[in-house]
């Protein structure tokens, strides 16, 4: 009944102006204020990341031992750290590091997972079986332990951290990609296309990938958030991104030692991590709801 009503309503509208499924999604998304706010916040973070160097008059690495551990002031909005460096600048540069590493990591894992998952899902049979048994093994490793092991083996730094986190999150994405391809494969429109004599490549390119794309975007948004959390966790433990390169996690780690007398070094990076995580989660949820309107009601 509900589907019918929606269709009927749109059937009338279709005579005036046509609305694609995508623009319908955008409309539903825009109605979700929290998700739109998150999107704005994330765009802001990206701007901060890009212009981190010019937003403040300080250099993130410029030490000033006479000015160390200062509380927030007009000159240093977020205060200064144990080497007298401006915390605001370091949080901004940390934003760049976190976003860069997580985008790289998610990019790596998504590309690999897409290829592997599509092969497993679309062709099935023995190939699928082998791939799934291997992912079972990877899934049996606790995520943080695995990420730390790989990270320790590869060494620290932006690229190594990205590769470590990317590599360790391939398996769960492979499963998701495979599941959504399996779901798609049974759709009648794929069969309809086969009835015209379309080959596998045509079907994958024209139907499977575009249809698997939307749910994948949601996954990517959620993954980006999770990865930022993992990066800061690794950096906090001394793996991942190492000082002097600022990163939210390693800043908090330093702040921990001055916990009882000096808060800004914990507070500001902490707030940035929490807000970023919140934003990516709300954005992901908002996009999922926009795609599957049933969940909203």
């Amino acid at each position: 009944m509900k589907r019918w009503l929606e269709t009927r309503k749109l059937a009338r509208k279709g005579e005036i102006r046509s609305v694609g499924k995508f623009s319908l999604m955008v409309r539903r998304f825009c109605r979700n204020k929290a998700a739109v706010a998150s999107l704005v916040f994330i765009l802001l973070l990206i701007l901060i990341a890009v212009f981190a160097d010019v937003l403040t008059p300080y250099d993130y690495d410029a030490q000033n031992l006479s000015e160390k551990l200062r509380q927030p002031s007009a000159a240093h909005w977020f205060g200064t750290d144990d080497f007298g460096r401006d915390i605001l600048t370091r949080v901004f540069v940390g934003t760049r590091v976190s976003l860069l590493v997580s985008i790289l990591a998610v990019g790596i894992s998504t590309v690999f997972a897409l290829v592997i998952g599509s092969i497993a899902g679309y062709f099935g049979g023995a190939v699928d079986n082998v791939i799934m048994r291997i992912t079972d093994i990877f899934m049996a490793l606790p995520g943080m332990l695995f990420a730390m092991t790989v990270s320790a083996a590869l060494g620290t730094g932006i690229w190594n951290t990205a590769i470590a986190l990317g590599f360790t999150s391939i398996a769960p994405i492979v499963r998701q990609v495979r599941a959504s391809i399996l779901l798609l494969k049974d759709q009648e429109f794929i069969e309809a296309s086969k009835a015209f004599g379309s080959g596998n490549t045509v079907i994958i390119v024209r139907h499977v990938i575009p249809n698997a794309f939307a749910p994948l975007i949601v996954q990517i948004a959620l993954r980006l958030g999770d990865t930022i959390m993992a990066i800061s966790g690794l950096s906090f433990l001394g793996l991942g991104v190492q000082p002097p390169t600022p990163e939210w996690g390693n800043m908090v780690s330093v702040g921990k030692d001055y916990m009882s007398e000096f808060l800004p070094l914990i507070l500001f990076p902490g707030i940035f991590v929490i807000l970023t995580m919140l934003a990516f989660n709300l954005l992901g949820d908002g996009m999922r709801d926009a795609m599957d309107p049933r969940m909203k009601r």
Binding site: M148, L237, L263
Partner: protein, 325 residues
């Protein structure tokens, strides 16, 4: 059913072997020698070389790997730690109880809070209660564990002096680690319960139950909850699996001698053999909890039970039919 369990237990073996092989391979190709770390920078190349020979680190890949598995099968030993010079198994067993206590309590806590809160939010959908619960759940899911641990330490221990800053000398020491491990699972369980309940309440059989004249409470608790449980069980299972393997970050911050702490130190100190032992134990815990989860599925949903029973028989029927055609 028993056939299914046995089959699953056998399938554990390749998974455990696989995890060890993966981690072993990663460690094998790492270029930092544990011997160098143990002996310190002053040691000569020869001393390092001798130490590596003693540990068998200069043998070929397959020999080392084979030796590791052979030691497990023949002696039931996971080797001796490079750093602490103690049997790895003993080190793990000493630390496991602390992790298990915290993990079990944290996961149980999350179930006790997350599920009821999720159900409540679903029943009272779009009310203030629902919004608050949903917002709290999203917020709790967004706080990284290290920030949460430090904030708790700061407020509850350093400022208020209610709890010890770290260590588990008294039972009070367990409180913060349990909360730290429990917050994220509470959030996940709550959100999953809410969305699963909402999905179930929309089903036709719930309408049938209402049309019977049942009270709303009976409809929810008897007809809806059992159907909504499957995805909830998945999340709860994951929660238990993760918690029982120990939280590396919170054990490090609260200085708890547990499995997570051992993993952390073995990784940072390149104590590869201890690391492998931890991986093996963690993978076993993860797989075992997954198996339990799958069995609970069958107890909840008769359709899944029927499916398991069918997979047990499958192998034989297949062969017979193939012969026939």
């Amino acid at each position: 059913m028993i056939r299914y369990i046995i089959r699953r237990l056998f399938l554990l073996i390749p998974i455990l072997i696989g995890t060890v092989v993966i981690v072993f391979t990663i460690n094998f190709f790492s270029d930092i020698s544990p011997a160098r770390l143990v002996l310190g920078p002053t040691a000569t190349e020869e001393q390092v070389e001798a130490k590596e020979d003693e540990w068998g680190l200069n043998d070929p890949y397959l020999v080392q790997l084979g030796r590791y598995f052979w030691r497990i099968v023949s002696q039931g030993s996971l080797g001796t730690s490079y750093i602490y010079n103690q049997p790895v198994l003993k080190m793990i067993m000493d630390r496991l109880p602390n992790t298990l206590i915290i993990g079990l309590l944290a996961a149980t806590l999350s179930v006790m809070i997350g599920i009821p809160l999720g159900i409540l939010a679903a029943i009272k959908q779009n009310t203030a209660l629902d919004y608050i619960a949903t917002f709290l759940a999203i917020l709790c899911g967004a706080i990284p564990p290290f920030v949460l641990c430090i904030l708790m330490q700061l407020v509850l221990a350093v400022r208020l002096h209610w709890l010890p800053v770290s260590g588990i000398r008294s039972w009070l020491g367990y409180i913060m680690p349990i909360i730290a491990c429990g917050v994220m699972p509470v959030a996940m369980t709550c959100r999953m319960t809410r969305s699963s309940m909402l999905e179930t309440i929309r089903q036709d059989y719930i309408r049938t139950a209402r049309a019977k004249g049942l009270k709303e409470g009976t409809v929810i608790w008897k007809h809806a909850l059992k159907n909504a449980l499957i995805p909830i069980i998945t999340v709860v299972g994951m929660t238990y699996a993760m918690s029982l393997c120990g939280s590396i970050i919170s054990e490090a911050i609260f200085n708890i001698p547990g499995l997570g702490n051992l993993m952390n130190s073995s990784i940072s100190q390149k104590d590869y053999i201890t690391n492998l032992g931890c991986v093996l134990v963690a993978a076993f815990i993860m797989s075992f909890v997954t198996l339990i989860t799958d069995l609970i599925y069958a107890a909840v949903d008769p359709r899944i039970k029927a499916q398991y029973a069918a997979t047990g028989k499958r192998a034989r029927t297949y062969k017979r039919k193939e012969a026939a055609v």
